[in-house]
Symmetry: C2
Subunit: 340 residues, 2 copies
């Protein structure tokens, strides 16, 4: 789901721009390949975010669980992180910054609903450096991925962040009534503040974690106008195709069990009603196809390769195995509203 | 629960007032005993409300159930009831009026949650004339009771009605998380409009339906300041006592099973947190005590009386019987946040 947000700022005309420096939105790639967002080094942002999240999840542990209240949606907590450390925060080697946590109790409630334990969340978020995804969206957002592939942290514009916060009560209602919802799972909304610059961030689930290989991926909008993946996308090892490609690849559509189909359609209808009620129209459905036949073949090939190289560990990739046991359809279809 | 509302209007000084006419708030009792609210005959209000509720419950039947959305809380439906009838509404012999229904889909959702079937709601509300309770609250509100004793319709001030509407999302959240809540059950919020006068009404559960006799009733605020039932109240056949009376009658408190006690206290704490979050402080706990020993005695006396009068039907009051089978404690205690 791509939420309607502020337009990205145009580059300032009076500033001489290097040919090598590429810029989309607030994201810049410098001559040496170093990436900045609002001119802050992305490594600084990543490290600081981790300190902030570690602090908030840790401090929530001392607040007993209780019913979520309306006012929890409007709460905002701010913590200062001086480099020398404080009674509340550790010393660090980044620039001084503030970390703002939107609706901490509400997001804890959501994480609980999604079955995310605080320890697991903290481990995923903070125990290893984040990775920046190399292909940013057209909006110039930066995507950070946790080392274990579970979570994505995405930069959002001011308006988009505000909008998301306003959405929270309705989001709560949808989760309660429609637990199978395919709308993105939001785990946190934060703002990293440094040198009077604000970087707003939303933590979400990673829709396509790498431990299940998707042989085909589609971003579907239900429109056929200009809905074809461009050359750059097609040349990727795992491109995300669009509506026209889908129609070409699957002229008869995808086969789903009757029960799966009706459950899926019902969920999509309910999700669309929620999006419509919030006047959100710029969203799409991300469909990932895991081809079981191909997966078996790939597994055999990998095993053969491992044997020829004298390694045997490869033979049993446990997650993939487990996965295929769970799914006995010919094609695995994950249909999720897109969140990037 | 008595919500903070507009103060009742003082009587206009320039109007000559009959000695016999008594007035509290908008409620007047005329010389002949006829009751008016905002100078509209209460019988007219009662009949018109019934037409309005009948219409709204009926028309909702054609709208399929769906997930409740945030925007449903702000919906307002208005229906005109001309005396000659229309394509939508029946003819009637009251003055022309309009009936406004606040958040119809949201209240249907609440009624569903409370297990109130549409047919039952309509039957209770509309199949027999409403009765007006003779003892209005200090606020000058009028209370209408359905013939089967299940529901109460209470007039509320403009501000109180607005406040209740604003509360609805938080009310939804509480019902979802805390289904044992003792807060009032709201089934509908309406406005009857006639001659440019507005009578706002809220439909609620009747906390103390007559089919379970409460031998003692208390309205508890947790304060001892002036918390003694006055003479007029004490002289009633079934008075509602207050905190000081409770302490006098039950110096050792009430005995509850450990499990019942802890569940009750937990529920009250959760309810208080919700009320606090909405800055509501003027509420009290209504406690009704059904004394099983006394009930058995009363039943025996009634049976003996029936025998001496040659009637035997009386012996088996089924509801009371069923009730006592369910409750094996010495005293039955219903603890509910007061709603009048």
């Amino acid at each position: 789901m791509e939420m309607s947000g502020e337009q990205s700022l145009a580059p300032r005309p009076h500033r001489p721009k290097s040919d090598k420096e590429r810029k989309i939105g607030h994201r810049r790639v410098g001559e040496g390949g170093e990436i900045t967002y609002k001119k802050i080094q992305t490594t600084t942002i990543m490290g600081s975010i981790q300190l902030g999240i570690q602090h908030t999840v840790g401090s929530l542990a001392s607040k007993p669980r209780r019913d979520l209240l309306m006012m929890d949606f409007w709460e905002l907590e701010t913590i200062s992180f001086p480099p020398e450390g404080s009674s509340m925060t550790p010393a660090h080697h980044y620039s001084e910054f503030k970390f703002k946590i939107y609706a901490p109790i509400a997001f804890r409630y959501f994480r609980d609903l999604f079955g995310i334990q605080p320890d697991d969340f903290m481990m995923s978020m903070c125990s290893a450096p984040l990775r920046e995804l190399s292909n940013p969206g057209a909006s110039g957002s930066i995507f950070y991925l946790t080392d274990d592939d579970e979570f994505i942290i995405k930069t959002v514009q001011h308006k988009e962040g505000e909008f998301l916060q306003k959405l929270l009560p309705g989001y709560y209602m949808n989760l309660n009534q429609n637990p199978r919802t395919l709308l993105p799972k939001f785990f946190g909304l934060y703002c990293y503040q440094c040198n009077s610059k604000n970087v707003r961030l939303v933590a979400m689930n990673n829709l396509l974690p790498s431990y299940v290989k998707m042989h085909l991926k589609y971003d579907l909008k239900g429109s056929t106008y200009k809905r074809k993946a461009n050359k750059a996308e097609r040349s990727k090892s795992s491109p995300t195709y669009k509506d026209l490609d889908f129609m070409e690849h699957h002229p008869n559509g995808l086969f789903l069990e009757a029960e799966t189909y009706s459950a899926l359609i019902k969920t999509i209808q309910r999700d669309c009603r929620v999006l419509e009620s919030f006047k959100i129209m710029d969203y799409s459905l991300l469909v990932g196809i895991h081809n079981l036949d191909l997966a078996v073949k790939e597994k055999q090939e990998a095993a053969a390769k491992a044997r020829s190289e004298g390694e045997s560990d490869y033979e049993d990739a446990p997650e993939a195995d487990q996965y295929m046991v769970q799914e006995r359809e010919e094609q695995r279809t994950t249909a999720l509203n897109r969140s990037r």
